[in-house]
């Protein structure tokens, strides 16, 4: 059976999938709002302990990576395979740097005995327990999405090398870009919620 190609259908499917991702995090935003409302003071104090510079750097990194993957789409549309691959490589690199920062950030908190189930955290009161519980869970789930995105982009790069994604058939690359933008967008919300609103 010959494959029936419909780029608009693929993109519609991707957008619908992004809706589900938004709602997945939406559930967590609801939980965050409820507990922030109940424990306003504790959330206020705990948020001051997170490093704003590290969060800002990570935000900038993700924004640049969103730009590079968008440019990669334009490059393939102009039939510039090398540039497109280079830009995807940049995107993957920036994603890895983001994860590296996250690793050191988490490591720093864990060294201070701030992690779910730790007695030190428990002794600081319920508001802190919930703040850090949400912090680890939400940034952890986001990091998992980054990892999935990186694997997806790597797979797309392979398809470009094998000339399966070309200047008149690049919907898969576009879809991976959409996914990457969503991951970026979620971070744009996580960043103020945990780092900036103190």
């Amino acid at each position: 059976m010959e494959e029936h190609r419909d780029d608009l259908a693929s993109k519609t499917g991707m957008w619908l999938f992004l809706f589900t991702e938004m709602l997945l995090f939406g559930g967590l935003f609801v939980v965050y709002s409820v507990y922030r409302y109940i424990n306003a003071d504790a959330f206020h104090l705990a948020a001051q302990e997170l490093s704003v510079p590290v969060g800002t750097i990570n935000t900038i990194i993700l924004l640049i990576s969103s730009a590079t993957i968008a440019m990669s789409v334009t490059a393939i549309r102009k039939n510039n395979k090398k540039l497109s691959l280079l830009l995807l490589g940049f995107t993957i690199l920036l994603g890895l740097v983001f994860l590296g920062n996250k690793y050191f950030e988490w490591g720093h908190h864990i060294k201070e005995n701030i992690y779910p189930g730790s007695p030190v955290l428990a002794s600081r009161g319920q508001g802190d327990v919930l703040f850090y519980g949400l912090y680890y869970f939400m940034t952890g789930l986001h990091a998992l999405h980054i990892i999935i995105g990186l694997v997806f982009i790597g797979f797309i790069a392979r398809l470009i090398i094998k000339d399966r994604i070309v200047s008149d058939n690049y919907v898969l690359l576009e879809n991976s870009g959409l996914y990457w933008h969503l991951v970026d967008l979620i971070w744009i919300f996580l960043f103020p919620l945990f780092y900036l609103i103190t």
């Binding site: 059976m1 029936h4 259908a9 519609t12 559930g27 409820v34 109940i38 189930g117 508001g127 949400l134």
Partner: protein, 535 residues
Amino acid sequence: MSAHEGMQEPNYLEFKGKYKGIYSWIFSTDHKRIGLLYLFSILSLFVIGATIGLLMKFELIAPGKTIMDAKAYNAFFTLHGIIMIFAVVIPGLPAVFGNFMLPLQIGAKDVAFPKLNLLSWYLYVAGVLMVVISQFTGDQAPDTGWTFYAPYSFRTAGNMLPAVFGAFLLGFSSILTGLNFLVTIHRMRAPGMTWLRMPLFPWTLYATAWIQLLATPIVGITLLMIVAERLFNIGFFDPTLGGDPVLYQHLFWTYSHPAVYIMILPAMGAISEIIPTFARKIIFGYKFMVASSLLIAFVGYFVWGHHMFTANMSGKALYIFSLLTFLVAIPSAIKVFNWISTLYKASIYLQTPFFWAMAFIFVFMIGGFSGLIIGSLAADVHLHDTHFVVAHFHFIVFGGTGFAFFGAAHYWFPKITGKMYDALWANIGLTVFFIGFITLYMPMFFLGVAGMPRRYFDYDEVFHTGNIISTMGSWILYSGLSIIITNLFVSLKRGVKAPADPWGGSTLEWTIPSPPPVENFIETPIITKGPYSYK
């Protein structure tokens, strides 16, 4: 069809593809074969779930321990709930008949993403396997009920992790099916099939798909939070750590109430196909049927709080949820009125699928009205967590969705298999099943009003009579079920060959041979008029 008599396309059952034997099924991306993969998985699980139900009813034949103790009973109702809700009624009509019939009814060759369609079946199987694993590993089977209420779900010694993760996978499978159907309906309708020329079954699948897509992620994240809670002791829903168990209930029902409409909407769609076909009349109020499907999907989003009337919500929230619950009954009632009106002055062709549709309306009405009783605040305080609620949702979920499933199975059996079922045995099966159904669930209403709580293996002596009647009903129901399923399997072997259109149906699936060719339509049909056009 006559123009193509010379060039016989192989039908989808005989088609020889890349793979042979079982592989030609489990690696097939043909929507018809995937529909049948779902049919066999769902039917097997349904029989398992029904057998567990039968054992539970047997336990309740007398007060005290009959065949199982409290622990075993808890494990049984949990497994019965998880299987029946997540693995049978939610995917039931969309994944089986939706998969098979949606492309046929809109004149398409397949769904928009055939590979994704197969992937969602694999996720379904993986989810079921996780639930099975939860039963046979660990010290104790899950015992929380299918709702996984916090904080018990992360305190119990029951083996919750695989069960919760299994439910998560089943939800993911459901999302992918919904996504696939949405894109299919938007992009693949045959030329000339405008939105208002689309049959009603695809319309209900469309409304359902939006619910699957927009509600399921909420339960997905909630289940992941339960997993995290058990693994890392985070405290989301643990009152000792500052969490709020009622918040869990809100999140859970934000999905699980709309899920009720995932179950019932495609069932209504199947009934809306059966009734005009056997009434030989265009459906009454087609546009109202379309609008009511969309309205049910929309309003159904905002009624979850009625599961929590006794969970200490604010007074205002209670009134609003109760009001919305009454409102959501209106579009369902519109459907019932329109089905009945379609029958007015119709020339009715009395066949088994029509009898199923009538039985559906009867039990659905009882289920619906009893829903209004527990949707009213004061009555619910008395009836909450009693057998009344059990009777109510079995009338809707088993009576509504189950009856529509069997109605659809008989209606489309000739199209799917190319054989006719034995009508006499089908009618006998339906009659026995119906009598059993009423005998089983009707006494539960009375037991509930009298105050018999749900989810206990034991009860007070005053409830004995009602329970004896109910348990005997379960035996009749199970016999009816055996007759129906046996009859369908025997007919598969011995049934006479079915013509392309045995019922005189007017939707597109009846214009192609039974069973359908691999590519469905030899020539893409061009649509010039609405569905159900009878002269």
